[in-house]
C-alpha cells in the first residue's frame, strides 16, 4: 500500500525526520535543506530529484520564515533584487551542471563528495564556536552594526557601475551579482538554500550591517528558492509528495524549535549540532564508499547515522526544553508568551 506514492515506512520516516530537522533548524535559525538533500541521495533518489526536492523544501521553509518575519523591516530591496538576478543565473548554471553530470553518470558521486566537504566544514565551524564558548564562558561572536574591514576593502575597488546601499556605503554591481552568482551556483548544484553562505556573503563581501544582511538574505532567498523549485520543477525533478510530507513535519518542528530559543541556551546544545554535521558528513562519505564497493549494508548504516544523529540532537533540544520547563514556575505562560 502506498500513500502519495510513498510506502507507509517512508511516510513515517519523512514526517518524523522533517519534524526533527524543523526543531533543529528552527532552533539554530537555518532552513535545513542541506540535511534533506543528502538524505534523499542516500535513500537512492536520483541526484537531480534529490537536489530539486531539496530546493523545493527550502522554498517551503522560506515561505514560512518570511511569514514569521514579515515585519523584520531590515530588507535592502535594491540589493535583494540585484542579488536575486545573480542567484537565479547561478542556480540555473548549477542545474545545467547537475544534469550534465547526470548524463555522465557521476552526479550522485560529485554531489556526495561536495556534501562531505560542506557538512564537515559547517560542523567544524560549529565545533570551533562551541569550544570558544567553553574557553571564554561566552560566545565571542560580535553583533556589531559596523561594516566589516574586509567589506570596506572590497568596496574601495570602484568598478562601475556602483550601487548605493541603504546603509550608506557603495558596492560594485559586479561584486553584488558575482556574489549572488557564486552562492546560486552552489545552491543549484547541491540543492541547498544557501542561507549559510548568502548571509555572510552579504555581510562580509558586499558590506551591509548585520541586521540588513539577515533581512536581505531572507528576501533574496525566498525568490531564489522559488526559482530553484520552478526550474527543477520544469525538468520534472521535484518529488512533490516527498517535499509535502517533509514540510508537514518541518513546519511544526520549526515552531517548536524557534519557541525553544527563548527557553534553552543555544550554547548548551551547539556542540551536539557540530557533531551531528560531522556525523552527517561521515554518513555521506560511507554511503559513497558503499556504492563504490557495492555493499548495500553500508548504505543502511549511512541512513541510520544521518537520520539518527539528527533525531538525537533534535531530541536533545526537546529534552533541554522539558528540563527548563520543569524548572520554570509558569511554563505555559513562557511558551505562549513567546509567540505574541
Amino acid at each position: 500500500m502506498e500513500i502519495l506514492g510513498l510506502t507507509p515506512e517512508l511516510l513515517v520516516l519523512f514526517v518524523s525526520f522533517g519534524f526533527m530537522v524543523g526543531v533543529l533548524f528552527g532552533f539554530f535559525g537555518m532552513g535545513g535543506a542541506f540535511l534533506i538533500t543528502p538524505t534523499l541521495l542516500i535513500l537512492g533518489y536520483p541526484a537531480p530529484v534529490a537536489i530539486g526536492s531539496g530546493l523545493a523544501f527550502y522554498f517551503g521553509t522560506s515561505v514560512i520564515a518570511v511569514m514569521k518575519h514579515y515585519d523584520i523591516g531590515h530588507v535592502n530591496y535594491k540589493l535583494g533584487a540585484i542579488l536575486f538576478v545573480g542567484l537565479t543565473i547561478g542556480i540555473e548554471g548549477g542545474r545545467i551542471i547537475v544534469f550534465g553530470l547526470e548524463e555522465m553518470g557521476i552526479a550522485s558521486l560529485v554531489t556526495g563528495i561536495a556534501y562531505v566537504v560542506l557538512l564537515a566544514g559547517i560542523g567544524s565551524i560549529f565545533l570551533r564556536r562551541a569550544m570558544a564558548i567553553d574557553d571564554t564562558g561566552d560566545d565571542t561572536a560580535s553583533e556589531e552594526d559596523e561594516i566589516p574591514a574586509v567589506a570596506q576593502k572590497i568596496q574601495s575597488y570602484t568598478i562601475p557601475p556602483m550601487i548605493s546601499l541603504v546603509s550608506g556605503g557603495r558596492a560594485s554591481l559586479w561584486t553584488i551579482s558575482g556574489t549572488g552568482g557564486v552562492v546560486g551556483l552552489v545552491a543549484g548544484m547541491l540543492g541547498v538554500g544557501g542561507g549559510f553562505m548568502r548571509m555572510p556573503a552579504i555581510y562580509y563581501v558586499i558590506g551591509t550591517p548585520l541586521a540588513a544582511a539577515v533581512g536581505t538574505s531572507l528576501f533574496a532567498g525566498l525568490f531564489s528558492g522559488a526559482f530553484g523549485a520552478f526550474t527543477y520543477g520544469v525538468s520534472g525533478s521535484v518529488d512533490l509528495a516527498t517535499v509535502a510530507v517533509l514540510l508537514v513535519g518541518s513546519a511544526l518542528g520549526a515552531r517548536i524549535g524557534s519557541a525553544a530559543t527563548t527557553i534553552v541556551d543555544e550554547d548548551d546544545v551547539i556542540i551536539y549540532f557540530g557533531i551531528m554535521m560531522l556525523l552527517a558528513s561521515l554518513a555521506i562519505g560511507l554511503s559513497e564508499i558503499g556504492n563504490w564497493l557495492g555493499i548495500g549494508l553500508i548504505d543502511v548504516l549511512s541512513v541510520l547515522l544521518l537520520v539518527g544523529s539528527a533525531f538525537f540532537v533534535g531530541a536533545m533540544v526537546l529534552y533541554q526544553v522539558g528540563k527548563a520547563l520543569r524548572r520554570s514556575e509558569t511554563p505555559a505562560t513562557r511558551l505562549v508568551g513567546e509567540e505574541h
Binding site: V63, V234, G236, V243, A244, V248, E339
Partner: protein, 49 residues
C-alpha cells in the same frame, strides 16, 4: 514518485511553486491556530489551579 502526467514543463514548474506556497501558508496558519487554541487552554488550566 508522484508524477505530473501530460502537463507541459512550464506548467509543471508553476504547479510545484504554487503547491508548495499554498502548503507552506496553510501549514503556518494551521499550526498557528492550533498553537493559540492549545496555548489558551493551557492558560485557562493554570488559572483554574
Amino acid at each position: 514518485m508522484l508524477e505530473l502526467i501530460n502537463v507541459p514543463p512550464i506548467a509543471q514548474g508553476a504547479i510545484v511553486v504554487a503547491a508548495i506556497t499554498i502548503l507552506a501558508v496553510g501549514l503556518y496558519a494551521g499550526y498557528a491556530v492550533v498553537e493559540r487554541f492549545v496555548g489558551n487552554r493551557m492558560l485557562e488550566a493554570l488559572d483554574d489551579v
